[in-house]
């Protein structure tokens, strides 16, 4: 479903701040793969997701989603294939617009925006049913401005918006990191439900190793702009945090994972 071939990205090339964030990453996801991504700060996790989403274009290599080469497509055109939830709860929704208006915007992802009405009655009923799944009482507040919602409510809404039109690929960039533990667990739970229900091909970054082990059918660990570890199937099911740290040390010859990532 997703095919990343040998991509490179260097920021501030030619200056003292030069930073090679992606150093030849190749990754292939089959349809329905739920891949968790871990790694220390600056390992290239978010950069990888942004490269796929098209926040900027990569320096080298190619990215294919569901057979379509998107390497040179701008962000808004790739959005047709991609659902996204950001780390910052403020990023994924339009605060000054109503809940139902936000959903209506997401419902038209990948379609041309015409002069037809922005939201109709039939949709509204559909949204009400979908909001009930989140179990946050949002179905009774559909005309409230999204800016009035809490961070957790906004992330849950963004998740719903990302999956409203079934995406070929779902990108979750530490989408629970800014939430308190209880809310984070709720949003993660909703994530698991939606991904399983729609059999979504998913890339999820997390800072929490336990979450990374618990969710998904495959785990990759990034280090210095490369994929350092790739564990799937039975091996992933039996994984523990200690195993993970040990295998990371073997793969990279580094022990920095211990302190850097356990703390995170």
């Amino acid at each position: 479903m997703l095919d990343i071939k040998n991509i490179y990205k260097t920021f501030n090339a030619g200056t003292v701040n030069e930073k090679t964030a992606l150093n030849g990453v190749s990754l292939h996801l089959n349809e329905g793969d739920f891949v968790t991504v871990i790694g220390g700060n600056g390992a290239g996790k978010s950069t990888l997701l942004n490269a796929v989403a098209g926040t900027w274009l990569v320096d080298e290599g190619s990215i294919t989603i569901g057979g379509v080469d998107v390497t040179h497509l701008p962000e808004h055109k790739r959005a047709k294939y991609i659902g996204r939830v950001f780390q910052d709860p403020m990023m994924g929704t339009a605060a000054t617009m109503q809940i139902e208006e936000n959903l209506a915007l997401a419902f038209r992802r990948g379609k041309p925006r015409t002069l037809r009405t922005g939201i109709n009655k039939a949709e509204r009923e559909q949204y009400r049913e979908m909001l009930k799944i989140l179990d946050l009482g949002l179905e009774d507040r559909m005309t409230s401005k999204v800016g009035l919602l809490s961070g957790g409510q906004r992330q849950a809404l963004t998740l719903l918006m990302a999956s409203l039109v079934k995406p070929k690929l779902l990108l979750l960039d530490e989408h629970t990191a800014a939430l308190d533990p209880k809310t984070a667990a709720k949003v993660l739970d909703a994530t698991e439900k939606i991904v399983t229900r729609d059999n979504l091909t998913t890339l999820m970054i997390t800072h929490n190793m336990r979450d990374a082990i618990m969710h998904g059918n495959r785990l990759i660990m990034m280090y210095e702009g490369r994929v350092a570890l790739d564990i799937s199937g039975e091996a992933k099911k039996n994984l523990t945090v200690e195993d993970l740290l040990a295998r990371f040390g073997q793969a990279t010859g580094s022990t920095e994972a211990d302190d850097k990532m356990l703390l995170a």
């Binding site: 990023m91 929704t93 208006e101 939201i119 009482g137």
Partner: protein, 320 residues
Amino acid sequence: MTNLANFIGALPGAISQGLIWGIMAIGVYITYRILDIADLTVDGSFCTGGVAFVVLFSGGMNLWLALALAFLVGTLTGFATGLLHTLCGIPAILAGILTQLGLWSVNLAIMSMKANVSINVIDKASLNRLLVSLRFVQDVAKGERPVWQHPIFVVGLFTIVIIAVLYWFFGTELGCSLRATGSNPNMARAQGINTDFNKVLGLMISNGLVAVSGALLAQYQSYGDINMGRGAIVIGLAAVIIGEVVFSRIFHNFALKLLAVSFGSIIYYVVIQAVLSFTEINSNYLKLISAGIVALFLSVPYWKDKYFSKPVKRGGTQNA
């Protein structure tokens, strides 16, 4: 008492002017509030609309066609600013200033390098072709013209039609995507919205309205001159802010918010008229006063936030 009589006598004219500038202020609302861009093109495009209309109309063109062309020329100025901003990556404020500066020459060129152009209103036949005119205000007062030709009525109707069209537009898929672009461009792009296209479109619509407002003012005062747009952005912001301060508690609907902008512009002109009627102030100080008032209103939200904000009630976690 002569001051009061003077003020009351001048009210219809002040309200007419306020309504005309109100259309420009609605254009400013689209960029400043909906797109979150402070667009300084308006100082130039207001004048462009005015002088283009006068030149076309004086040349014998049909009034409605001349107004439509003024709108079109206005959209072109917005297009220029939009391209400078999106295609060339120039910050929006600077892009607007560049267009505004360039338009100064363009406006002079439209007037064949003269500083002003006028409409012949001495000739009755020519005057009667106009839609709005300062003279109609006096004529209606004297009973020489039907009331429906009063500029307040005509421009009021104009405003209502414009608000109705904008209300419809911003409720469409495209209009919603424009609002999302201003509200959160990251979210908009993630939902497949071409934010660059939308910014250009918004700037075009806004400046089209600003140019129509300029055309109406030129018609009203029967001339257009190179300085007629000077400080327009400040008047526009004043109208937007006054409208919000006065009406935000009662007007929640989008159409009513636009109406509030128009009312804000009327209030602005009535206050200016009051200052002129009741004080001996030299009218050259008006721009300084306007700038001061707008600066004050713009700083109020900041000060409120900084020194008078109440702690936010927490307790959303169990609902989150």
